[in-house]
Symmetry: C2
């Protein structure tokens, strides 16, 4: 097990699209910088909430180059490079490593259902072998709500044993704390991120390294404060509060909801754009949501407040 490449609060960065639904790399780069200023310790672009799988691999690689080209530190990036196709996963992962990314977050192939652990092992192992680069730091992405099949603990153990300096962590988006807890016990030193800030405090108390959470896109400051102060007496209170903010944002489907907030805060209606199969919200819905989260102290782009 190596030292943690990533800890803290990572956001699966929302992807800004123009009105013709093309991703806008210039805006994405600016947004990445903003999120790091707002409180994210690092960024996980091309995650579920980035609509990554709704973009082609070429679009994702082009965006990554624009973000790094604009001056975002590649070491602070853990782009999603998983794909159903081995050749796509290899290409995207190789590219991220070559660009100096601190790590990558890799989904299991998610089209076929009922696959075996052996089959998933073969996918991850072939990807690692074909990338063939000691700099590769791979985080597994366990998200059964979308992929249906997740990553079993036996599979994790096998991957860690075969690739101890490459397979260094996991994002647990199962929404099942018992799963995270069991991994924390079985794999000490493995970089385990909760997939939502709802489990941030529990994860830190049990030896986890932070959370990679959708709402890092809109509430990074408050979540970062809990991360920094998880051993303080008011931690439970803070945990309850950020979970209330999250619930408020989840009034609408998460991606359009967060985009409507960024639209309301920036006045840029293009922030409302989402790729199908999602549907956009309106600026009015964004403004109403902004008013409601403001009451909870979540007021848009601000530097992370001093403790």
């Amino acid at each position: 097990m190596t030292t943690q490449a990533f800890t803290g609060i990572l956001s699966p960065v929302l992807t800004p699209f123009d009105n013709d639904l093309r991703p806008n790399g210039r805006k994405l780069a600016a947004f990445c910088k903003s999120l790091l200023a707002e409180g994210c310790t690092a960024l996980a672009p091309f995650g579920t909430n980035s609509e990554a799988n709704s973009m082609s691999v070429e679009e994702r690689m082009d965006l990554l180059e624009q973000v790094i080209g604009a001056g975002v530190d590649a070491k602070k990036l853990m782009p999603g490079t998983g794909a159903c196709a081995l050749s796509d996963a290899v290409r995207a992962t190789k590219h991220a490593v070559a660009k100096g990314c601190g790590g990558v977050l890799v989904l299991p192939p998610f089209y076929y259902k009922g696959m075996s652990d052996d089959g998933f092992y073969r996918f991850f192992s072939e990807t690692i072998q074909r990338v063939g680069d000691a700099r590769l730091k791979m985080y597994l992405y366990h998200i059964p709500p979308q992929t249906v099949q997740g990553i079993s603990h036996d599979l994790i153990e096998r991957l860690i044993k075969a690739y101890p300096t490459t397979v260094v962590g996991i994002k647990d988006s199962s929404g099942d704390w018992k799963n995270t807890e069991a991994m924390l016990k079985r794999f000490p030193g493995f970089g385990i991120f909760a997939g939502s800030e709802d489990f941030l405090l529990a994860n830190m108390r049990a030896g986890g390294v932070g959370c990679i959470t959708a709402t890092g896109n809109v509430n990074a400051g408050m979540i970062r404060q809990l991360f920094e102060g998880w051993q303080k007496p008011d931690a439970d209170q803070k945990q309850a509060h950020i979970s209330t903010v999250r619930k408020t944002i989840q009034r609408h489907p998460m991606i359009p909801s967060m985009k409507s907030l960024r639209a309301a805060w920036s006045g840029d209606t293009a922030w409302l754009n989402v790729l199908p199969p999602f549907l956009p919200l309106t600026m009015e819905q964004g403004k109403a949501l902004a008013a409601d989260v403001a009451k909870l102290g979540c007021k848009g782009p601000e530097m992370v407040p001093a403790e």
Copy 2:
């Protein structure tokens, strides 16, 4: 509703991979010709059983060009061009139309779960609009066992109304005959394919146009005979027999199983290659399976027997 572009027995063509897991276009083209000789009326390359989603869009487009370049009639091809990414689906569909394919088979985007009919409509509609070609003949691909979310009847109705000369049919791989039956009643004239030969006779009797079936890769002759003779007195007997052959093949997971048969019949061990997350069978398993299906009259590449 337009005249049927496709009827009969279509096979989602198995993709031959070399030992380095690269798709082999020369072998695929030869195999397409063989399947048409064995009894397929047309072909659906890049379907579920082609491991299409385990290949990149570029690999699929390159293979299509090689198949057509080798002399396979593009009008007899209904390639799968669906993808999670709108840009990928548009690119692959445009390419297939430009190459003269008789139709395309399109999956709904399958990463996100819990999407609305409106969201799926937006995906298909945007794809059609962006392809923007009157030659496009789109078949919807309903396969909830893999995509989890399928294509609802209300969505089909809406797409037919909006694009009556473009959205011309569907492959129903739900495995639920009641779903096929309900579509046949609600959408007369729509090109409805059963997703398995198990429902071929029922589908023909109720007004369907045939089946697009995995086992077209290994048992096209027998299935074609039932299609040609579905009104004959021995049709039920034939249906029962081809279903028995199917069950025998399903002893192993379908894709490796059929590939092991083609390996046994051809002596070409490269036919055993499958992409992860699948695992290959051995030549011995293929030979044992070949012996068992031979007892049922399924003996490998032969011309479709005369009635």
